[in-house]
Amino acid sequence: MSVAVRLEGITKRFPGGVVANDDIDLAVERGSVHVLLGENGAGKTTLMNVLYGLYEPTEGTVYVDGEAVTFDTPQDAIERGVGMIHQHFTLVDPMTVLENIALGWEPVRHGGLGIDDTAVEEEIRALSERYGFGIGDVVRTPVEELSVGAQQRVEVVKTLYRGADIFIFDEPTAVLTPQEAEQLFDVFEELTAQGKTIIFITHKLDEALTAADEITVLRDGRKVDTVDAAGSTEDQLARQMVGRDVLLTVDKTDASRGDTQLSVSELSVRNDQGITKVDGVDLQVDQGEIFGVAGVDGNGQTELVEAITGIRDHESGSVSVRGEDISDRSRSERIALGMSYIPGERQERALVLDFDLIKNAFLGGQRRAEFRTGRQIDWAAVRDHADEIIETYDVRPPDPTVTARSLSGGNQQKFVVGREFLRDPDLVVAAHPTRGVDVGSMEFIHEQLLEMRDRGVAILLVSAALDEVTSLSDRIGVLHEGSFVDVVEPESVTNEQLGLLMAGKTDPAVSSR
């Protein structure tokens, strides 16, 4: 096999002295899937931005098909057949699939006055059929009406349409459901079968092992090793990634449950469109217990959590904390009751992206006495708090004066989790607390959750990662179309049985309530 991409001695130094890539060599075989594995901030994306022409390397050479190349812009890269699919899509939502794919590369007719959309449509259909993308029938549908997985396939077709031979995927599964991720890996197979080359950036071990032919592990901007996926194990990869042994399984003792902390009864909640998404839910979370909520995304998890935390009004029913009905309490009153909340939408909800980390450390803690001197905010105290979060949760870069927007997704998540956990809460509502963070941090967040549980904190855990829910929870409520199908103990069910429950099928053999 020939080498499609070779990077030789790539070093990327940013102004200010940060070395994102340090003398990295990499060779990617044509027709293979090559995974770049590393923690948040290990330099994976920077390295690929160098290949894609977004960054100019400080030192080193890029070879495509054995020829040294210098890309000043992504256009140069595309012309040499290198395409990149970013985590956040570059699609124009109200425009159709066809318009998005042709954008900037339209075949024209009538001397440039019209677009030859029949030609484009035929090509899209042909591509879709050849690779099994299943978007042939939605060519004239606005992109915003497609599912996230389908939108990603549109991105792939767009890149193919532009003549790419080498595909860079930057953490593509972060926005996908597990099923959609499976479909994406099928797409990988189709692409490589046709001789295309794929570089897949991820920090998830199982995905790396599933999808890769070869895996290159990066840590702190350096290459640790390149290994064959066959014959590698998660433990070994995790050690290379983090630089120490990592506990991938959670070690937990039995819960010693106290009084009921959170009690939800007959709760019904509507979404913004007025559709009832939570329909008569009952649940109790005791002190010293982790109550997990499993379910396919969109079955009312968001609305349930928002009604409990006071973000969203509910239709009927009640929410009580320590026996006191708080249904009419405002969001800030609920915060004052000792409720911490990690929302699923960290960029929209949990952070003011244009604020620096100091000001973000203050968000939700405005009423706390230790951040105040008289009527004024004690910014020095807030800054100390920000430093504490950054240090305890290993937020990078460790600089509280940078804006939240400038952090990578995983570091944003670590900052939010740190802020909410360090508040000394009595009740934690955590939606997808480890979404986007690397294994090292994931282990730490899991440990913190269990440690808080053992201190008597009540925890409501919502997660799309089934392993996370089953390994941490003491009880699991399975949410389907807005109500609990069943409440089970994790030891008494298999993942298959949970999967059936998530699909709404009650299995009498499983129930153990």
Partner: protein, 395 residues
């Protein structure tokens, strides 16, 4: 996208810039506007016909000399106690109405209604002071009572008139851009009818109230009476600006205002009460515009009369030129004061119509509102290493 949405995005496009870039943008806009304004004046001087042209270039006659206009503009704004006082009088008024736009802007709201708040605030002051003048003591005590009562009347009436669109927004979801804009016309009409029907001064013609008593007037210090300007009032205005700066930077309410303005959903997550924050910032804005109205009555005209100057509308431009940052309000307000004050002189001395000075003001606003051009230019200069612009955000 709705018209107001476009408007918001247009103004919002200024926000993404760093502090250093914003200062550069504003300075570049002013410099460009002055340059372009000079060209416009030259062109107008070519098109106009006059008996004695003042400028000949390559045999072409021009009626106006741009450099002379610029000279007269600056001289008319600064040289002489009266001129300087007149400039600072406008600056003072612009500080109040500028703040009235800047505070809601920080909360993500567009208060286009400073003019109405200013007009009704000034009416409240005039009527209120006349009402209690009979029972107020004389001498210094009377001055203190009447002036503080006058400012309070202006603040209360203006504040209420700012509260209303805020309430309509939180209660009925009415867009504040539309309501505040339309409230200006209501204010002017209502004030006219009220004065005409109930408070009119019968002794002179025109629609105006009686003059407030002499003790309630804010006397000029260091400046001639005719300048209608008191240095103490300017200091008071700067104190209000400093107070707003403190409010926004150092208090919880200020933090919550800024969080809501930047990212409403995150603010709600953080326990910010959107309704309170909306009402608070709109009411405060109205109150400050109303105090501006009070100052206009007590320092400048001494009564309420029809045809108040459009300082409320100018305040929007002043605030935008200052990037809605209280720190920038004084230089920005001073510039508009110079244009206002010097512009009057230009018309008298050079015969250039004051509308052409209006064109200059318009150009400044236009160029400030299209920062992208300058931002791109700045980026280009930065890339070529010609300038070094800080990339830090606020604080």
């Amino acid at each position: 996208m709705s018209v107001s949405g476009r408007l918001k995005r247009l103004f919002g496009s200024l926000v993404g810039l760093s502090t250093g870039e914003r200062v550069l943008v504003s300075l570049a806009a002013v410099a460009f506007a002055i340059g372009a304004g000079m060209v416009v004046i030259l062109g107008a001087g070519y098109a106009a016909s006059c008996e004695s042209p003042v400028l000949f270039i390559l045999g072409v006659e021009f009626c106006y000399n741009p450099t002379e206009v610029l000279f007269v503009l600056v001289e008319g704004a600064f040289v002489g106690n009266f001129e300087l006082g007149r400039t600072l009088r406008w600056t003072t008024l612009f500080l109040f109405t500028g703040l009235s736009f800047a505070i809601p802007y920080k909360a993500g709201l567009f208060n286009i209604g400073a003019q109405g708040q200013f007009v009704l605030g000034s009416l409240g002051t005039a009527v209120g002071v006349l009402w209690i003048a009979g029972v107020a003591p004389g001498g210094t005590a009377g001055a203190v009572v009447l002036v503080s009562a006058g400012l309070a009347f202006g603040a209360v009436v203006g504040g209420f008139y700012g509260f209303l669109p805020g309430y309509l927004k939180v209660r009925f979801g009415m867009n504040e851009v539309v309501t505040t804009l339309l409230f200006n016309f209501i204010a002017t009409a209502v004030a006219f009818v009220l004065v005409d029907q109930y408070f009119v001064d019968e002794s002179i013609s025109g629609t105006q109230t009686r003059a407030v008593p002499e003790v309630a007037r804010l006397d000029p210090q260091l400046f001639p009476d005719s300048a209608d300007f008191s240095l103490l009032v300017l200091l008071f205005a700067l104190l209000v600006v400093a107070g707003v700066f403190w409010l926004l930077r150092r208090t919880i309410t200020g933090y919550e205002i800024r969080a809501m303005g930047r990212q409403p959903k995150a603010a709600v997550f953080g326990g910010v009460d959107e309704r309170f924050t909306t009402l608070f910032s709109m009411t405060t804005a109205g109150a400050i515009a109303g105090i501006g109205g009070a100052v206009y009555v007590l320092m400048v005209v001494g009564r309420w009369q029809t045809g108040p100057p459009p300082v409320g509308f100018d305040g929007i431009a002043v605030s935008i030129l200052a990037s809605n940052n209280p720190v920038g309000l004084f230089p920005s307000g001073l510039l508009f004061g110079v244009l206002q004050s010097g512009g009057q002189e230009v018309q008298v001395q050079t015969g250039v119509p004051s509308e052409l000075v209006g064109v200059l003001r318009g150009l400044i606003i236009l160029l400030v509102a299209t920062p992208e051009l300058f931002r791109l230019m700045g980026k280009r200069l930065q890339r070529h290493g010609i300038i070094d612009v800080g990339t830090d955000g606020e604080n």
